[in-house]
Symmetry: C2
């Protein structure tokens, strides 16, 4: 098994994703003007998590409508954009497409940058400061020079290795898809998320599995009553249950701190699988195609 | 391997879920009064899919707010109900809790009943008629007496047996969770759904899987450009790709026809795994607890 505390393990990180991860806080474009309210947001791809976190409406009659174009859209977003431009609201396009008002290059770490741009555009500097303080606090124990025994991301990566992770985040369900995306895009590996009625799924969906597949590792993101119930249900049904308690703070700061820890976990998982944690060229072709 | 065209295979269906599946159309409560608009809906558990399909707002200032209480809620729904009752809108509770205006008993097939109740309550009889016509049309080739070679649900069940299904429904993403729920609750088995950026997930998430787990079976629900792209990406990455084209009709009718076929598929899958397709007692305990 590869050793995350040895330098040669990091040779597969050919394009230096570790640096982007480490220096993430404070990166990305800042708004150059004031955007009148009310605010709405339509988002896809890398902008999706930020939009879910802020819970803005998808349509406003006046004010500003942000279009976060952070992924392929197969024409739908273009249609939404046209629709948006037919209204009275100012349309502000953000993302990696041509002609955007603020450019955010494609990256598995861009969800943070979309959130940062939005918070600044909405004048929520205080909320952003709290998020960034949490991320910097997390970073102190997540980087490669922190050894395994003091590094929760390294530890979680070893736990997930050769297992099929099952993510459950009862206090903010969209984080599950965020985790699944990080594990795929950085860790190049498969993971599982439950449907809306998650506890029922845990009770019933693991019955006929016949011990034939990868052992499952349930990862409970955040605490609360639902997480405790899930733990109780899952303990006898999966190979291992990992609890990842959130730090203190607002829901926004907690969620982003968990997301950041999962980004590091996905990074270490890629190294353990011996694959480059950066984006593959195929993603660029997909973007051109869509 | 068990044979779906032999009677003894059906002995594990101890509580007769096949009858409930066959006679589903037309069951469930009907509204007893007219509910003034505008209409909103707050839904959890078995009511969730119906609410997503109709796309009603989650809050209305006046008119009627339907509370679909079709699952556990850990206090959140009660809070929502209180909040709802603090407004001027009439609150109509539907589900299996005490004191509801319309009672729908717990069942994996209840998503149809919530939808039917809502369509009737909204005066959308025409849309309901189209859904029910499609379901009856589907039924003609899905019931146990239809032999394998003419029965697409039996066929799909054999394809999914001993594989890990991966559902993708680009034209209506909430159907993926609906499919995952049916496979768990009826088929007692595990399946997978992609995150928001599904095509990227397909391109990256299957890289480091090491051929060690269950072989994956991708199930593409409905057609369109995204499904074609997904097929192209997945063909070289999973064990098998199954396309389930939708019947002609409205998005609502198409989605419910696919859902109904998946319910039969989950039923046959349970039989192939030799487990009872009906609800387990543990679900009742979960409901009492939450």
């Amino acid at each position: 098994m590869r050793d995350l505390d040895r330098e040669e393990t990091y040779l597969v990180d050919r394009r230096g994703l570790a640096l982007e991860l480490r220096d993430l806080v404070g990166t990305g474009p800042v708004p150059k003007e004031t955007y009148p309210g009310p605010h709405g947001v339509l988002a896809y791809g890398e902008g999706h998590l930020a939009a879910s976190l802020l819970g803005l409406p998808e349509w406003v009659e006046e004010g500003t409508l942000f279009l976060l174009e952070g992924g392929y859209d197969l024409g739908e977003a273009a249609a939404m954009g046209l629709l948006a431009e037919s209204g009275r609201a100012k349309v502000v396009r953000v993302g990696f497409r041509e002609g955007v008002a603020a450019y955010i290059p494609p990256s598995p770490l861009s969800p943070y940058r979309y959130l940062r741009f939005l918070l600044l555009a909405l004048g929520q500097e205080e909320a952003l400061r709290e998020v960034e303080a949490k991320l910097l606090e997390e970073r102190r124990r997540l980087t490669p020079e922190i050894p395994l025994e003091e590094n929760p991301a390294k530890f979680l990566a070893y736990t997930l290795l050769e297992r099929l992770p099952l993510f459950y985040a009862p206090s903010f369900r969209p984080l599950e898809g965020g985790a699944q995306t990080l594990l795929a895009r950085i860790g190049k590996s498969l993971s599982l998320t439950p449907p809306h009625a998650a506890l029922e799924f845990f009770l019933t969906g693991l019955e006929a599995r016949h011990e034939q597949g990868d052992p499952l590792a349930a990862v409970l993101l955040g605490g609360g009553e639902a997480a405790s119930l899930a733990k109780e249900i899952l303990e006898s049904r999966v190979d291992t249950v990992v609890e990842v308690p959130p730090p203190e703070g607002s829901r926004l700061a907690q969620t982003m701190a968990l997301w950041y820890r999962l980004a590091w976990t996905a990074y270490y998982l890629a190294l353990l699988y011996g694959v480059d944690p950066s984006d593959q060229e195929v993603l660029e072709r997909l973007r051109d195609l869509t």
